[in-house]
Each structure stands twice: as C-alpha cells, then as structure tokens.
C-alpha cells in the first residue's frame, strides 16, 4: 500500500499537489487528470525523483527516513524517457539489473517480450521514440519492486505492442506487483482489470 500524508509540492509560487491524506491499495490503479494537473509530478514524487514536503510510505517504509529500502519497492517509467544518447540499450539494462538486483533471465525475458532484442545493442540516440518507450518500459520491470509506476505507457507505442504490455502487466500483477498508471487513453482497451480510478483536480487527488 502507498500511503500519502500531508504531501505538498510547489513549483515557484504555484501549488501543484496538496494532498492531506491518500492511499493506494495493492492493485492496478489508473490515474487521470488534464494536462499540467500534476500526474507526472505525483509519479516523480512517489518514485523518489522529485522533492516534496510531507510523507510517503510504501508498506510502512518512509521515503524520507529509509530512502534505500523505499526505493527497493518502487520503480518508474517516465512519459518521455531521456537517457544519454551515447549509451547502448544493453548498457542501461545492465545498469538497472545491477542496481535493482534483477537477474539476466528476467532482463532477457523482458527484452524478448517487448521485442527490443534486435536493437538493444545500439546507442539510444539512434532509437525512435517508440523504441525508446519500449526500452524505458522494460527497464521499469527489472528488479524485485512491489510497485511499478508507468507514466503514459501507451504514448508512442505501436498498436501491436499494446497486448504485449498488457500481458506483461498482468503477469507481474499475478505475482503480487501493483501498478499506478497515468494515461489519457482508456486502459480498458488494454484488457486490464483496473482496481480503481483516481483523478487529480485542483492539486487534489480524488477517487474518480
């Protein structure tokens, strides 16, 4: 479970998030909201990429007081992934594998599932946006985390990759992994059994 308490995030004078208290129970959650509503900011805050005031806990482990243990429990795929252009896909996979204690078998299966084995050995600067997205999604699944945050996973992904993404999510969910997914496109088309839908509006998070 993700527990959020008195979370505030501002850019300059603009309050982006103001969440007195909120919980995401284990499951697959769909996070909605208009452009600029703070979905990505919330994902970055939960994944430990951005600073905030307040408290976020996963399985009772607080991000601020136990940053290492907390990060073991959550991974994140950005909406617009950015990696150094000279790095090869395989180098990133290897880096994630070492950092998140994933196995070669797991990475190999993800490469095959997402169909990126053919180009993974090329520098990411040569990737198309779709290829980069697939790599970024595969990286988020490497490791032993309990929660995987996917920011706009459907954007730039080709049609026939959608069932693959759906089945990878469902496989992992069957193994006890929970998901928080932002998407402007309906997730129903993916065939996912969404546990609950949430919406960010006026800096607040509410059940939709």
């Amino acid at each position: 479970m993700i527990e959020i308490l008195k979370l505030q995030k501002q850019y300059g004078q603009q309050v982006i998030l103001d969440l007195p208290s909120y919980q995401f129970l284990p499951g697959i959650h769909w996070l909605k909201g208009g452009n600029g509503s703070g979905k990505t900011t919330l994902m970055r805050v939960i994944s430990g990429l951005a600073t905030f005031s307040g408290s976020i806990k996963i399985k009772g482990i607080d991000q601020a007081t136990s940053p290492v243990a907390y990060r073991n429990l959550v991974s994140y795929a950005e909406a617009e992934p950015l990696f150094p252009s000279f790095l090869r896909g395989t180098e990133l996979i290897n880096l994630y594998q070492q950092a998140r204690k994933g196995s070669e078998q797991q990475s190999g299966k993800l490469l095959a599932d997402f169909g990126i084995g053919g180009f993974a050995n090329q520098p990411v600067g040569t990737f198309s946006s779709g290829m980069l997205k697939k790599l970024s999604l595969a990286l988020a699944f490497i490791g032993q985390q309990q929660w995987i945050l996917l920011d706009e996973p459907l954007v730039t992904l080709e049609d026939h990759a959608l069932p693959t993404l759906s089945s990878v999510i469902q496989d992992h969910h069957r193994n006890g992994i929970s998901f928080l997914i932002t998407s402007h496109q309906p997730l129903d088309g993916l065939g996912l059994a969404v546990t609950s839908v949430h919406r960010i509006k006026d800096s607040q998070l509410i059940p939709a």
Partner: protein, 374 residues
C-alpha cells in the same frame, strides 16, 4: 561556405575534429614532441624514406590510414543515424554527381591529416626516385577517399539497409558495459571536448612549470597551491557533470543506492579525471617530492574537487555556484598557507559525505535545471 556544405560542416566535420581532438593531440605529440627540435627534420625524413624503401612498413602505414578512414566512415554513419540529424537524408534529393561533388569536399576535409602527409611522402619519394612506392601511397589514399565518398553516399540513399559496413561497425563498438565513472567521462568528452583539452593543457603546463622550477625538497605548499588551481580549473566542468546527472541520469535517483554507492562513482570519476596531472607530478618524484607527498597532492586535489562537487547542493545554479567556488578557492588558499592541507585532506571528504547524505534527496533535480521548486 555553400548552403549545401554548411550542414555537413556543422553536423559532421566540426564535431569529428572536436571529438577526436585528443587523438590528434596524441598523434601530434608522438610525431613532433618526442624528438629534439634540432633532429625533427632528419627524423621525419628517415621515417619517410623508411616507408618508401620497405614494403612491409608502407603496408603497415597504409593499414593505419585505412583504420582512420574506417573511423571517419563510422563516425558519419553514427551521426546520420541520430534523430536530430535525420534531416541530412534530404541529400537523397541531389543527383549522383551533386552528391559526389559535395561529399568529396567533406571527405577532403576529414581525411586531410592523411592526404596532407601522403603529399609530402610522395614529394620525398619523387626526390629520392622511389616512384613505385610514391604511386602506391598516392593511389591508396585516393582509393580510400573514393571508398569513403561511396560509403557515405550509400548510407544517405539507403538509410534503412543493414549493410556489411553496419555489421562491421557494430563489431567495432565496445561491447563492455560502461560503469558510471566512464559514463561521466564519456559525457565530458562528448559535451565539451575543447573544454577538456584546454583545461588539461593548462593544468599540465602549470604543473610542468612548477615542478621544473621547484627547488629540491621544496615547500609542500607550492605543490598544494598548484593542485588547488588545478581543481578550480575543473569547477565549471564539475557543475556540468552534476547537471548531466540531474538531467539525463535522473533515473538513478530511483535506484536503491546508499549515499556511499552514489558517491563512489563520483570519487572514481574525479580520480580518473586528474590522473594525467597526477602522472605529470611523478616527474618531480624523488628529488623534489617524496612518494608520500605525491600521494598527498593527489588526495588533496581529489578532496578539493569533491568539495566543489558537493557545493552544487548549496549553490545549485551556475550563477551562484561559480562565485562560491571562487570564494572557496580564496579561503582554501589562505588555509594552505597556514599548512592546513593534512587537516583539509581529511575534513573536505568528510564534509562532502555529510553534505551528500543530508542534501542529495533534499535537492530537486529541477533546481539544477533552473526551476524554482519546493
């Protein structure tokens, strides 16, 4: 410069020379720096006549030109593949002869170090009546140029095709996985190659000058102050690395790494970065500094650079960071005069570790990119 040639100059020619500046510098030092200046002409004449009279040597040299040509082709192919450079495929619209005419210009500039040397070699060959060897060298270079022009033309006209060349180049690409310090190093080199070279040249010159003019068993503070200047010369570079980390390696923040695991690659990168300076200090070993003092100078430079690195948590914009490093430089300068180096070599890394531990997660990456956040 013609409008058709200009994109090639900016996308290919200039970056090629910038990114391989170290290689050229190395070649220059090898050819001109290792021989007494009075012997230089004689040395090169002997080298060239050696090539012209020995087919084995000439073949080896030709092979090295071929490797250089491969490097040029590889570079062009790689750059053409990058997304921002995809517009270069518009050159498909030129006729074959227009493409060739343009690419000959490009190749002439890129292979200039090879053909310029060969022109001199041929002149020497004709003077010493080694006509066949001269003809061989000249023909080899012309063939290499034709091959380059055609390989690039093929790439422009068939960008999607996986060629033998592509497979060969993928074999030439390093297959090992770069550890983080090498990722930082690659970025420094790619992002500001001239900055790297000029900083290094400045530092090496400063160390050479100081170590040459030091008295035997001179005051350790002279070396320590030189190293302080070396560290300051790296300060904007250090900040750029922090910015790179927060922009393109921001995903590392999500890794379950301890402070030490995050700091260790930075320490390794710093040690690697000032290795050339440390090696140059070795020339002063024994008569001017002891081995312990050499180690202390190395440690001192690393400590100051780590301190500068950690300053970016307190001063996260370039506008506030550079004055802070300058202020720190002045304070450290005075402390060195008061013989505080041994104390600082311990204190500065401790300060760095504490600051990293306390401030790493409290500093938003967006701040490094100039955005106000809390």
């Amino acid at each position: 410069m013609s409008p058709l040639y200009l994109p090639w100059f900016k996308v290919i020619v200039l970056p090629f020379y910038q990114r391989h500046a170290g290689l050229f510098l190395f070649g220059f030092v090898l050819l001109f720096g290792l021989v007494e200046s009075s012997q230089l002409l004689h040395f090169h004449l002997a080298l060239m006549t050696g090539m012209l009279t020995s087919w084995v040597m000439l073949s080896l040299v030709t092979a090295s030109w071929a490797v250089y040509t491969l490097k040029v082709i590889h570079f062009i192919h790689k750059e053409l593949q990058l997304r921002p450079n995809q517009f270069m495929l518009l050159y498909q619209l030129l006729t074959q002869s227009e493409q060739r005419k343009l690419l000959w210009k490009v190749v002439l500039v890129l292979l200039e170090p090879v053909w310029a040397y060969v022109v001199i070699l041929m002149a020497v060959g004709i003077y010493f009546e080694q006509y066949l060897a001269s003809l061989f060298a000249g023909s080899a270079v012309i063939l290499l140029m034709i091959a380059t022009v055609e390989a690039v033309r093929h790439r422009i006209n068939h960008p999607e095709q996986v060629t033998f060349g592509n497979r060969l180049f993928s074999l030439l690409t390093p297959t090992f996985h770069r550890p983080l310090p090498l990722i930082f190093w690659t970025q420094s080199w790619r992002h500001q190659p001239w900055g790297v070279i000029l900083t290094k040249l400045f530092n090496l010159f400063a160390i050479y000058l100081v170590s040459s003019n030091m008295d035997d068993h001179a005051d350790f503070r002279v070396g320590a102050l030189t190293c302080l200047a070396v560290a300051v010369a790296h300060s904007s570079w250090i900040f750029e690395m922090r910015r790179f980390e927060e922009q393109q390696l921001v995903f590392l923040r999500n890794f379950p790494w301890s402070t030490w695991q995050r700091l260790a690659p930075i320490i390794t990168w710093t040690c690697l970065m000032i290795l050339p300076e440390a090696l140059l200090w070795l020339r002063a070993l024994d008569d001017k500094i002891t081995l312990f003092q050499w180690l202390a100078l190395y440690g001192w430079t690393v400590a100051v650079m780590l301190f500068f690195h950690s300053l970016s948590f307190l001063r996260p914009t370039m506008e506030s960071y550079l004055p802070a490093t300058l202020g720190a430089f002045l304070v450290l300068f005075i402390l060195v005069l008061f013989k505080a180096v041994p104390l600082l070599v311990v204190l500065l890394p401790v300060w760095t570790l504490v600051l990293w531990h306390r401030r790493y997660y409290q500093t938003d990456p967006a701040v490094m990119l100039g955005r106000s956040t809390r």
